[in-house]
């Protein structure tokens, strides 16, 4: 039943598509992290003119299918004169989708850092972005990375839907293989295995990164964290 000639014929095409998937996802994840961080910072410490539009954007992106977002950008925007290539539209949509999802993980990370630390940093005159980088982002990474890993894997998986608007990634390559070899089961199973490997490698790498950024942390109860208790006590007095 399983036709191995499809494997030998299709695998080079699929590997080529996989490299495109990795490229497009990397671009979208990097853009998503930058925009997502800005959204998260805006939602935590911006005025209402930043908070409200940011929240509306995040809710819209998180509550509609990526496929519909892609159709809107690729097929509907040309009507008002905005014509993007399939790849550009795909990367744009995937980046915005990633930004909305990442921003939620980053926002909860920022909120996980005790507020007193930010106030203390501001009180000693530390500039806002230095405070964000040295106090908040430095501490929240161990908290954020597990959630971010899930979101990054989510972006990689969702990117498969972009083949529907003809972005030349691995799921699109599968359609090419199916068209040439008439072995849809073999082709899509191969693609599934390739995605499985890719998401497995990403999860493994993020696990190493998580251990790396949490290495400095003292184990709970060893006494180095007592400063935290003092701060929360001070907060309850104010």
């Amino acid at each position: 039943m399983f036709d191995f000639s499809v494997v030998t014929f299709g695998l080079p095409i699929l590997i080529g598509g996989l490299f495109n998937t990795i490229l497009f996802c990397t671009i979208s994840i990097v853009l998503g992290l930058v925009v997502g961080s800005l959204i998260a910072i805006g939602r935590v410490s911006g005025g209402s003119w930043v908070r409200v539009p940011a929240q509306v954007f995040v809710e819209i992106m998180r509550n509609t299918p990526l496929l519909v977002q892609a159709f809107l950008v690729y097929f509907a925007l040309p009507q008002i004169g905005l014509r993007l290539s399939a790849t550009a539209a795909g990367i744009l949509v995937l980046s915005l989708f990633a930004a909305a999802n990442f921003s939620e993980a980053i926002r909860s990370g920022i909120l996980s850092v005790p507020k007193g630390q930010m106030e203390a940093a501001r009180a000693v005159g530390m500039p806002y972005f230095v405070m964000m980088r040295r106090i908040v982002f430095a501490q929240m990474l161990g908290f954020v990375i597990p959630a971010l890993t899930n979101q990054i894997i989510g972006v990689i998986k969702e990117s498969a839907a972009l083949s529907v608007i003809t972005v030349p990634e691995v799921a699109m390559a599968a359609q090419v293989v199916v068209g040439e070899s008439f072995g849809p089961i073999e082709a899509y199973l191969m693609v599934a295995v390739l995605y499985w490997l890719l998401t497995g490698v990403v999860a493994f790498g993020m696990g190493i990164l998580e251990r790396h950024v949490t290495a400095f942390r003292s184990p709970p109860g060893s006494g180095r964290n007592t400063g935290k208790t003092t701060i929360s006590l001070a907060e309850s007095h104010s």
């Binding site: 039943m1 809710e59 819209i60 998180r62 509550n63 509609t64 299918p65 990526l66 496929l67 519909v68 977002q69 159709f71 809107l72 097929f75 509907a76 925007l77 009507q79 008002i80 894997i153 990689i156 998986k157 969702e158 990117s159 498969a160 839907a161 083949s163 529907v164 799921a171 599968a174 849809p184 089961i185 899509y188 199973l189 693609v191 599934a192 995605y195 499985w196 998401t199 497995g200 999860a203």
Partner: protein, 215 residues
């Protein structure tokens, strides 16, 4: 206005597919969780593989594999049920993980007490573990339902006439892609947003079952 009624008809199909998929996913998820807890190393390995595969590969690819695999296995069923099976297969992995997490929060003393009273395993599952698990997973189940609503848009690719496919058909004769896709986006948004309220409601309803701080 007939365009909108066509879209609403499509939205109804979307909800139907997802509701059946959640039911199928819950049944499979319970079976997977029970198999995992059975203690057999082989069963645990198989469950781990299923969960890892369903969560590590795109739903789109799973839909395509199942859509082409079913006829090859001699199972000739309408697209609607192929879609239900694909979404149910996908969500069973997530639901079995939810159930495993929920089982961990039930105090082990309850099962030990039941075993001490010589209650058969089957009855321990039916009367002690699963009723509490059901209350615990109800809120995350509504989140899973919302994820399926969004994921079901991919069923348009195998030709199931749900909301997204209906939109493509409507655009075919109305030539108004912007309005139609905005309407479709709004319908998905409303459905998912309604489920977010259901999540909060079920969280409040079942809060008695969640462990309190410091037992």
């Amino acid at each position: 206005m007939s365009n909108l009624s066509a879209l609403l008809q499509g939205a109804l199909t979307t909800v139907e597919v997802c509701a059946l998929a959640v039911i199928l996913g819950s049944v499979l998820g319970v079976l997977l969780a029970v198999a995992f807890q059975s203690g057999s190393k082989l069963l645990q390995f198989l469950v781990r593989c299923q969960v890892s595969f369903a969560r590590g590969t795109p739903l789109f690819i799973q839909i395509m594999v199942i859509y082409f695999l079913l006829p090859a296995l001699g199972i000739d069923i309408p697209r609607f049920y192929a879609g239900v099976i694909a979404l149910g297969f996908n969500s069973s992995a997530y639901i079995s993980e939810m159930i495993r997490g929920a089982i961990l929060t039930i105090p082990p003393g309850q099962v030990e007490a039941a075993r001490a009273l010589a209650l058969p395993k089957r009855l321990i599952w039916a009367h002690i573990t699963l009723p509490q698990v059901f209350a615990l997973i109800l809120p995350p189940l509504t989140v899973e339902f919302a994820a399926l609503l969004k994921g079901s848009a991919l069923l348009s690719v195998i030709g199931l006439v749900e909301l997204t496919r209906t939109a493509q058909q409507v655009i075919g004769y109305s030539f108004a892609p912007i309005t139609t896709w905005l309407q479709v986006g709004l319908l998905y948004f409303l459905m998912c947003y309604a489920l977010a309220f259901a999540t909060r409601y079920t969280q409040r309803m079942t809060s008695a079952y969640r462990p309190r701080e410091a037992i």
